[in-house]
Amino acid sequence: MNAISNDGVWFRSISSRGISAWGIGVILTGFYVALYWFPTFLEPLIRLFDPLSFLLRMKPADQWFLYGTFYTLAVTIFGIKFLKKYKGNKYHFYRTLVLIFCQLVLAYLVPIWLSRINQPEFYFSYFWPLKREYLFPSDLSHLYNSGNFGVFATFWSVVMILIATPILTYHFGKRWYCSWVCGCGALAETAGDSFRQLSDTSVKAWKWERWIIYSVLLLIVGLTILLWVNSYYKGEVLGSVSRAYAKGYGFFIGSLFSGVVGTGFYPIMGSRVWCRFGCPMAAILGIQQRFFSKFRITTNGGQCISCGNCSTYCEMGIDVRAYAQRGENIVRASCVGCGVCSSVCPRGVLKLESGKEPRIKF
């Protein structure tokens, strides 16, 4: 069993909210602001990617091509770095390879290829409510009416959300998505790995987390219902209201929260700010994981020495130690099953598993 070295994590400026961390935070945040609202600032950068864009898409680059390329590069390069750091750990090995594959192939090359053959640009690795349009009436009908592939994609979307997701989450916990498939998770696990220790572990942060994430979930469920009602009445009743609602959600949650804050604040608040406080997909999967899943992190009897490595390196800010030192299993809605608590434990106390026995001992 190989071990991970976290030597100097809290001595290096970049990983301990030092000057370079703030610098990167400002650059990342600035990049997102430009990307969403002032793309002209990125123009010179975008033009640099024209050759690649012509090669892949036979058209000039735009800001979204630039973003997708950066994103995929980050996941791949930092994914390889992650594989090196956690070398010898089989769980991280398979998980990271799958993450890189999902981002590089499903969320980058496939959509590009689809648009090149004049099909709708579809992302097989994203689902409602994270990819909110995938259950919006207008987008769904547009997809459905765009030919055979569109029908298949619509079918995929609905089946994944309503059938596959609950089954997979029942068996494996939310990790099957959040730390094996999802692009946001992929970035957090790879580029964000150096910042996982910055997540706030306090009980107070946990309270905020629950309020915010379930509010976002309500907002998106409300929005989706509203759009369907509106579509049923052919836009006569709530046309302008639902349009404004959708626009507001897109601005505040889609861009500001998941983009600017979610990624821009990595070096300050840790790598899973969006996943933990905002993502409605994580909220739904979390509720399932908490109440209807076989997944848990088990604690190895009395071997915990309360050292705190697990809590410190939990990117979701779960106080893992609080459970481990009492010999309790960890069953938390927010756990994305990244497995790092188990890897950093110096006494072999924690194990991710989908077991048969009861999850909580009384």
Partner: protein
């Protein structure tokens, strides 16, 4: 309402306090001179190496104590009056109804000539930790104030101190008494694997040696003469040859002492309403297979629970059950359950499973399981304990040994070694 004073805020004292609060409304006061708040002693090394900050090794949020009405006081307890039920912090006196002593260990000194010089440290308390930090850490990480250090004593703390100093970029000479690392406890296969691992890290392991004299220059340690006559230069000496109960301040207090504070299975001392727990304790009659002094985290925690029960007059005795312990030697995890003797005997049979340098060892005595040990293999506590208590035989474990494993998902099974 009765008032319970606990002297010492380590794992045993704090566990006692928590359990007293769980079971009663008694007034609780914890006195410690070491730190404001309870911290995980075993995690000090991770703060030194930069894996965590100090706040991370405090297992409870700071409002936990007031929320649970556990009063904390910083101060050095100097003496007691057991007949008047008083604790003295210098001139200040505080009365109690029940007293729990949890005053821990201190590191054993070498007893070599020249030991009273600057730059010689143990590695047990926060004070030791602070001293090592100040002596070795420079303005920046990996720009240490010293370039060369020596650690003597090849036990669990010794190797941790070596790892700490090594992580800072300090060259370490590691002197051990045995021919290979911890060979008094580890079977030779495991001992050799760990020894190779230590050497692969670039540590200068010096075996079969001891220190006969310590040299100093301007009051600071500067060199060592080993038993064989070899002279080493050094800028720091870590002394990790073991710990002993911290009881020197209790001599002549009226407490019955031997190597530690003597207690029975209720953790009662010879003084009325005075209990003792953790590293400072010596059991008058330890259970079979257990030692009178067991200065480890786990026994401290278990004793804390019993002391709480005992002090509250509830039923319960200290019977820790099957021995277990764990450690980490640089990157190699180690867990043990029950008894894994080093010496070969006719009635003992060892079955060994391997996965490269990972070793799972099952020890049978007269065809009954008495011990399980994992080196780089995680072993499930409940299962190991169950099979040891049941004295499971080899045939039974042939089909069930896989239940013992606690490795992460996707790990290959260790394979039966044929030697």
């Amino acid at each position: 309402m009765q008032k319970i004073i606990i002297v010492g805020n380590g794992i045993s004292g704090i566990t006692a306090a928590r359990y007293i609060r769980k079971k009663s409304d008694a007034e609780i006061l914890v006195i410690s001179n070491e730190s404001e708040y309870f911290f995980s002693r075993t995690a000090l090394m991770y703060v030194y190496m930069g894996h965590m900050k100090w706040e991370h090794i405090e297992p409870y949020e700071r409002n936990f104590w007031s929320k649970n009405r556990i009063n904390l006081k910083k101060g050095l307890v100097t003496s007691f009056d057991f007949s008047e039920k008083l604790v003295f912090i210098g001139n200040e006196k505080i009365s109690y109804d029940k007293l729990i002593l949890a005053c821990g260990s201190k590191y054993k000194e070498l007893g070599a000539p020249g030991e009273k010089t600057e730059g010689i440290f143990g590695m047990y308390s926060k004070e030791d930790f602070d001293q090592i930090w100040n002596w070795t850490k420079g303005a920046k990480w990996r720009a240490p104030r010293i370039t060369k250090a020596t650690v003597i004593g090849g036990g669990l703390i010794g190797i941790e101190l070596v790892e700490m100093l090594h992580s800072e970029g300090i060259h370490v000479d590691f002197i051990i008494r045995d021919g290979s690392f911890w060979s008094s406890v580890l079977p030779s296969l495991e001992s050799e694997i760990v020894t190779r691992h230590i050497l692969s890290k670039g540590i200068n392991l010096i075996t079969n040696e001891g220190i006969s004299e310590i040299h100093s220059t301007e009051g600071k340690v500067s060199g060592l003469t080993l038993n064989s006559g070899i002279v080493l230069n050094t800028e720091m000496l870590g002394v990790t040859i073991g710990v002993e109960p911290n009881i020197s301040f209790l001599q002549n207090s009226g407490l019955k002492l031997d190597k530690g504070i003597l207690v029975n299975h209720r953790l009662e001392t010879n003084q009325k309403d005075v209990f003792a727990v953790g590293d400072c304790v010596q059991l008058e009659a330890p259970d079979q297979g257990r030692k009178a002094i067991e200065p480890v985290w786990y026994t401290g925690r278990m004793m804390g629970e019993v002391a709480a029960i005992s002090a509250l007059g509830l039923d319960g005795e200290y019977h820790p059950g099957v021995w277990f312990n764990s450690a980490k030697f640089f990157d190699i995890e180690y867990q043990v359950y029950g008894s894994v003797p080093v010496k070969e005997k006719d009635e003992l049979k060892n079955i060994v499973f391997r996965r490269n340098d990972d070793v799972l060892r099952l020890v049978f005595e007269n065809d009954k399981l008495i011990g399980v040990q994992g080196l780089g293999v995680r072993v499930k506590h409940e299962i190991a304990e169950k099979y040891i208590l049941n004295g499971a035989n080899e045939v039974e474990l042939n089909s069930k040994w896989k239940e013992l494993l606690f490795d992460p998902e996707f790990y290959a099974l260790p394979a039966l070694a044929t030697n």
